[in-house]
Amino acid sequence: MTASIQVGDRLPTLQLPPVDRTTLALFGGASGDHNPIHIDTDFARRSGMPDVFAQGMLGMAWLGRLLTQWVPQSRIRQYDARFAGITHLGNAMTCSGEVVELLELDGEACARVALTSANQYGQNKIVGEAIVALA
């Protein structure tokens, strides 16, 4: 399928379950991000936040899954994310992507993919892009 990537192609979307505290604790441990603002409600409130919230890199890892369920990871050349908003508890993210350009990168035929991670209210929390080799 990926042999015939065209501009306008949409990646199969990835729907995540609502963010819960268990997920944040597991990701904190697995990713090495022990910042208590993501796992300790008391700390989060003292920091002026209503509650713990998702690590940005958790959202970026989910968008990474969107990519690797579409092409083999060995074909990803670049992957960029801008964290546009805080992902709160209960947010159920939908990861989506669309091929926006075919280009050559270092002499290799590639596709540029626009990426978004949005919650159930349509708020974009991550906007990014990736460049993947066509073969």
């Binding site: 990713s31 890199m57 899954r65 060995s74 050349r77 670049q78 992957y79 960029d80 964290f83």
Partner: protein, 146 residues
């Protein structure tokens, strides 16, 4: 305010040996069920040397080593005010279980917006493996909210 004298600040090198159990834990944490991220035989059958580290896993190296904590302490950035603004990866090789990487980072820019209400620090990283091959380059934009 973050002192601009820290432009050029170099973090201590972070060395991370990627092991299968850590990658399996990471896969569980992100809900990854694809067998190539869980099972070495499946990964080899797909052409990888071992279980590949998912695309964003490399960010762990400087967290594990304490280099990120030291950076935040030196730049006087409290965790309570820290946000992740942007993150970029440029990949040269796929990192797999069994590889050992060295991450070397420098603060390349510090600036502010909204009259100092938001401050930004840009960190650029080079990642090499045990054969001194370039594996990836990372850019991180840290945001401090006031």
């Amino acid at each position: 305010m973050i002192d601009k004298k820290f432009i050029g600040y170099t973090l201590k090198p972070s060395i991370l040996t990627v092991d299968r159990t850590r990658l399996q834990f990471f896969a569980k944490a992100i809900g990854e069920k694809d067998p190539i991220y869980l099972d070495a035989d499946a990964a080899r059958a797909a052409g990888y040397a071992d279980i590949p580290a998912p695309p964003t896993f490399l960010f762990a190296a400087e967290l594990d080593s304490g280099a990120t904590d030291q950076l935040l302490a030196d730049l006087d950035i409290p965790l309570a005010k820290l946000l992740h603004g942007e993150q970029s990866f440029r990949y040269r090789k796929t990192l797999c279980a069994g590889d050992t990487v060295t991450v070397q980072s420098t603060i390349t820019d510090i600036y502010d917006k909204k009259g100092g209400k938001l401050e930004f620090a840009v960190k650029d990283s080079k990642v090499t493996n045990q054969r001194n091959e370039l594996v990836a380059e990372l850019r991180t934009v840290l945001v401090v909210r006031h």
